[in-house]
Assembly symmetry: C2
Homo-oligomer: 222 residues x 2
């Protein structure tokens, strides 16, 4: 009983801090998305493509979550209004960003100068599903080389997503990935989810993803 | 303080159960490996290739760890002496197998009929690094489409591995993956690690991986 109680307290405390974060973001008219995926599915690549496409229309900042290293923050720093790196290695929760980490990051960001905040979570399909950060939308990337069974194997993160980006579409000739089967399993968990077919390498599908995102930002903060 | 204390207790309890598991395995001359990777890197494929190659030389059983579904257990059941599925979705630790889950699995396995136990962990590069199960060797699979920066971004799991299998080598023409850079970063964390270059799809490199594994089994249990 003791263990369950402690875990519930952590999740309750997290929900409360996440709600505070969202109020702060709303006050400054910042729209935030939480981008989650397996390691190497293309979170940083999607952020780079999104910034390239939308930087003339929106002021974009990035929060980079990693267990270790600042490799991703280095990649995105030239295009963003501001970048904050969160390194979780020695924190009590190392397998996901949690709301109080975003709380600290928001204190370092010039919120009045930001329209869109892209939060790159730690590469993990399990832990991030339980911890809201204060984001307005949750986005999961699933890449073709991972296989089409991921919604069945990691259902919680897919069930709670507002959008799923199927990335590395350029790998279709080389992998055994049944897009219809993937989407059927995903829609079974989450009938309203938006689905995008993208290759961050070739740029295919980025237009459609960015149109949706831009519309979400404009509908929600202006 | 309270939180840290609880976490330490969990890890200490886990170490103690892991040591019990290893004594039980040793008593029955079962050699166990813990196979860890990102989702979709090829854990099940490596297990299938390993069973195909070694099933005439060793009696092999499998423990399948998944957040949800029995998809992987279905794939391996025809080739193994026995298969146990552990589904972690509703357990207190859902992002990794822990030692007491293996303890339960060992009670269902015919240990006297097993030489080699292949334990497929949950798809995750973070949580499994902290929880020993009682295994004799720890194996991490890293696949080319994930990118060559994984040792720098998830150092703990790579630092503790006995062997790293670089899988999906057939993707080399299609991805930007610098094998020398990957190995340099890996050896920086873990100078003694054994490295194998494999394609579970084509079978390339499986011979070398299985020779090493067979030798480990024979050296340690016979």
């Amino acid at each position: 009983m003791r263990k369950i109680e402690v875990i519930q307290n952590i999740l309750e405390a997290n929900e409360s801090i996440a709600a505070q974060n969202q109020r702060l973001l709303d006050k400054h008219k910042v729209f935030a998305i939480n981008i989650m995926s397996s390691p190497g599915a293309g979170k940083t690549s999607l952020i780079l493509q999104t910034m390239a496409k939308l930087k003339n229309k929106l002021k974009i900042a990035v929060v980079e979550g990693d267990v270790a290293s600042t490799l991703d923050a280095e990649k995105v720093k030239n295009e963003a209004v501001a970048v904050v790196q969160i390194t979780t290695r020695n924190m009590s929760e190392s397998c996901t960003l949690i709301a109080n980490m975003l709380d600290h990051a928001l204190r370092s960001l010039p919120l009045e100068d930001i329209d869109l905040l892209l939060i790159e979570n730690v590469g993990n399909l399990i832990c991030p599903s339980e911890f809201a950060l204060g984001e307005h939308k949750r986005v999961v990337i699933s890449s073709l080389p991972e296989g089409d069974d991921k919604p069945s194997k990691y259902p919680l993160i897919f069930a709670d997503a507002d959008a799923v980006v199927i990335n590395k579409l350029d790998f279709l000739p080389y992998v055994d990935f049944d897009i219809a089967a993937f989407e059927k399993a995903l829609k079974g968990l989450n009938p309203k989810v938006k689905i995008f077919h993208v290759s961050c390498k070739t740029g295919a599908g980025i237009e459609s993803w960015c149109s949706w995102l831009l519309n979400e930002v404009e509908t929600n903060i202006h």
